[in-house]
């Protein structure tokens, strides 16, 4: 296999390094001695997949700390796929070059709703039937995890087992049970697996609908299968495994650097934000642990940069001390420290300035909305003054380009809110003209709001493609000099919206879209909205049902049975407060706002380095 690959196949593809393996720090465990063999598949190309922290964590965790084995596979780019099909090469892992079919478990991580077509394509390339019911015990168990599967229902007919929540808590236990149930019939085995907390086996649930198409009820059909599936949570992140010897790619990947996950979760409570709810509560690592991880990663990789990542790293209680100490330790060696996302305030910009001596190119900030009214609705607790302070600090210290992230199509949005975006950008531009030494560039990146399951805005309607296009045209008309606007594709956002609040009926449409050739839907050059529309039509599905409705509070959602810890009552309260434009403060700094997760999951917001860093006003 490897010989054929290296001699006949790889010389003919565009980026052979993607398919080559052999990286530094690769772990090749003894196949015959390993208990469960699992292939960990990322449904996108190598350079995207290898940038993903979750994958690095699970790879190290399973291979270094258990008797099981985990090998990697990625989606081949279409040129490679074509060759693989022509030459009858099954999708293989980069460690042993074995086909996926040889594994007992094949797992996919879903970071993005539209990854599903790539998952189907990868299964097909592996010679594995796509529908769960067509696979008996001769085939690997097909497993999926990641943020998307907090609403697993649209993919329920393809996947045998969903793993909900923090993988490092769940996966080892899951694989142990896979090992313990070896030899059982698939159904018996799944029954055993379904008893593990965080495991969801869709085949065991009966789904009934109301005449209007909404969910009537959903219940387990077998004894011992839980009615609700509760997510798994790492309670003490500081003690959790983190890879200190990550695989070091040869090719340049999207995030090509040492990574410190300073914390997991975010308590800011933006009402549109999925990650902010499903990864609650926020849990930090200690500086001592992080510095040890940095040291070992650098020693084992030779990376030239250390990135402090999380949903909102500037909220990490030890950020200032950690950043300074890392700079002191590594700066001399030519190793840089980076902050991938900045908070909208001067403190953040000053800190970034201090530690990132290089690349003062574009400062990226996310005020998300243009008017204070709208920022209150979405609970983005940022004022115009904070933003202008931040950009002033930036322009004064040598930055000359600012990129601002906004959303359009938000609930209760009016033309004034859109005007607000432009006005805010003008103000930023004016600050730039006053303080910057060169001509300034102010760019706005506008994404389309997508209501997500498990967020306060799950009861909101998504703007139609036409509405979004009208808003876009309006903004382009109103746009002023010295400001640039770019818009996310409204069709892609629409489709994300269908799946983020989707149900099981969507599987037919997914299958048809895949059959019609949809894949790499996240890549604009491959995205074919027309084919998706055909697929919905042929499957008898009205996609507007999922996006356009504003569900009532009585509606049973297909994802309600997934217990994320945060209560539906809290989400409802937040949605009601949004209508009134009321803020809910960050429970890290203010009082508990009663989202429910701490008492219900026996966890706590875990702050390791004191509370001295409050957001500045």
């Amino acid at each position: 296999m490897k010989e054929k690959l290296f001699k006949d196949i790889l010389p003919r593809v565009s980026k052979p390094v993607r398919y080559m393996g052999n990286e530094m720090n690769i772990i090749r465990k003894d196949w015959d001695k390993a208990k469960v063999k699992m292939a960990f598949c990322f449904p996108d190309v190598y350079e995207v997949g290898m940038s993903h922290i979750g994958g690095k964590i699970l790879y190290g965790l399973i291979n270094e700390t258990t008797d099981h084995l985990l090998e990697r596979a990625f989606a081949p780019w279409p040129d490679m796929e074509e060759l693989m099909r022509a030459e009858n090469i099954h999708l293989y892992t980069l460690e042993s070059y074995r086909p996926l079919k040889d594994f007992e478990v094949v797992g996919f991580t879903m970071q993005y709703e539209l990854a599903i077509t790539n998952i189907l394509n990868m299964l097909d390339l592996a010679g594995i039937p796509l529908w769960a019911e067509e696979r008996d015990e001769r085939y690997p168990l097909i497993v999926a995890g990641g943020p998307v599967v907090f609403n697993p229902e649209p993919y329920a007919d393809f996947i045998d087992v969903f793993l909900i929540g923090d993988g490092e808590e769940l996966l080892p236990e899951f694989l142990d049970e896979v090992y313990a149930t070896r030899g059982l019939k698939k159904e018996e085995r799944l029954l055993r697996l379904a008893k593990i907390e965080g495991v969801y086996v869709p085949a065991f649930y009966q789904v009934e609908y109301n005449p209007d198409g909404t969910l009537k009820r959903m219940y387990p059909q077998k004894p011992g299968v839980p009615e609700k599936v509760r997510k798994r949570v790492v309670k003490d992140l500081d003690k959790a495994y983190f890879p200190e010897k990550p695989v070091l790619p040869y090719m340049s990947i999207v995030h090509d650097r040492a990574v410190l996950e300073v914390m997991r979760g975010c308590q800011r409570g933006c009402r549109f934000c999925h990650a902010g709810i499903v990864y609650r509560p926020s849990r930090e690592r200690s500086i001592v642990t992080l510095k040890k991880q940095a040291e070992n990663q650098i020693k084992n990789t030779g990376y030239e940069e250390i990135s402090l990542t999380s949903l909102s790293s500037l909220d990490y209680s030890g950020i200032e001390r950690l950043a300074r100490e890392l700079v002191a330790q590594y700066g001399k060696k030519g190793i840089g420290i980076s902050l991938p996302s900045l908070r909208v305030d001067a403190f953040s910009v000053d800190l970034a300035n201090e530690i990132q001596k290089v690349r003062k190119t574009t400062l990226t900030l996310a005020p998300e909305a243009g008017s204070q009214r709208m920022r209150n609705i979405i609970n983005k607790n940022v004022t115009e003054e904070q933003l202008l302070d931040a950009v002033e600090a930036a322009f004064q210290s040598g930055w000359n380009a600012v990129k601002l992230y906004f959303m359009i199509g938000l609930p209760y949005e009016t033309e004034e809110d859109l005007d607000g975006i432009i006005e805010l950008m003008e103000k930023v531009r004016d600050v730039g003209r006053k303080y910057a030494r060169r001509a300034v560039e102010v760019r706005g990146s506008l994404s389309c709001f997508v209501p997500k399951a498990h967020t306060p805005f799950q009861w909101q309607s998504q703007a139609s493609i036409e509405e979004l296009e009208t808003k876009k045209r309006y903004m382009l008309r109103e746009k002023k000099k010295g400001i640039k606007l770019s818009f996310h594709d409204s069709q892609t956002s629409y489709l994300e919206g269908v799946f983020s609040r989707g149900n099981r009926k969507l599987s037919r449409a997914i299958y048809l879209a895949y059959q019609k050739g949809c894949k790499f839907d996240g890549w604009s050059e491959y995205f074919r909205f027309d084919l998706w529309q055909e697929a919905f039509y042929e499957a008898g599905i009205d996609p507007d049902f999922y996006t356009r409705r504003r569900p009532s509070y009585d509606e049973v959602f297909p994802w309600d049975f997934i217990d994320i810890g945060v209560t539906k009552a809290f989400l409802r309260k937040e949605n009601e407060k949004a209508a009134r434009g009321e803020l809910t403060l960050d429970c890290r700094h203010d009082k508990c706002s009663g989202c429910g997760i701490c008492p219900r999951l026996e966890v706590k917001v875990d702050i390791k380095e004191g509370r001295e860093i409050a957001p500045k006003s």
Partner: protein, 225 residues
């Protein structure tokens, strides 16, 4: 101080680009305890330069790089420390301290040898004679003037063949850089034009880089000034 090292890049890493190779060496240096030198300025980087670009798809038996150290160290020490941290497929063969004023590898290397591993069954004596007797050896250029006719004759210096386990190793010394630059894929084309079936070519690698002076081929470790 400056060091010049000769390394082998094994077949498993044959698809690395030049940029990837640079990064591989930089990261190896950073993993090591070697006192590598950094450039001044905001964005310091390691003072490292590679010899002529190894084409993607080829592995290399003897490739070269120059690297600067901030402190004096021994040649053996450098080699050992590097080999501790390099990936499996890369090995430093030799290292040598070179004078500060030594010209860069890119400036002095003017020849390379490529080895084609072939299924034998050809009359290599006869084939060589044909090559040497030809006045012109035209192929389609794969380089700058793509598809224009290019005469390789003046760029072919030396050919040696050896037989081993039913395989023939055809080692061809060619000119690199100006005025003629013979690429390995053009050599490949020359082979197929002159009667060798592409399917009989089992492997190709670069076996060396040289400084050609008259009829002598010096390695970059032998001839530093």
């Amino acid at each position: 101080m400056r060091l010049r090292a000769e390394y082998r890049l094994g077949p498993d890493l044959r698809f690395l680009s030049n940029l990837e190779m640079m990064r591989l060496m930089e990261r190896a240096l950073r993993r090591s305890s070697l006192p590598y030198a950094l450039t001044e300025g905001f964005n310091p980087h390691i003072k490292l330069s590679l010899g002529t670009v190894l084409p993607v798809g080829l592995w290399g038996m003897r490739e070269y790089m120059d690297v600067e150290m901030a402190e004096n160290i021994g040649e053996e020490y450098f080699k050992e420390r590097m080999n501790e941290v390099l990936p499996e497929g890369v090995r430093i063969n030799k290292a040598r301290i070179i004078p500060e004023e030594a010209p860069s590898l890119m400036k002095i290397i003017n020849s390379a040898s490529y080895t084609f591993v072939l299924r034998s069954g050809y009359d290599w004596q006869e084939w060589q004679e044909r090559i040497w007797q030809a006045e012109r050896l035209p192929v389609k250029s794969r380089g700058k003037k793509k598809d224009a006719e290019k005469d390789l004759r003046a760029g072919i210096f030396k050919i040696e063949t050896s037989l081993e386990n039913e395989l023939a190793f055809l080692n061809i010394w060619v000119a690199t850089g100006d005025p003629v630059n013979v690429r390995y894929d053009e050599l490949h084309d020359l082979l197929t034009i002159t009667g060798i079936a592409a399917r009989d070519i089992i492997d190709v690698y670069r076996s060396g880089n040289y400084i050609k002076e008259g009829d002598f081929f010096y390695t970059p470790l032998e001839k530093v000034i």
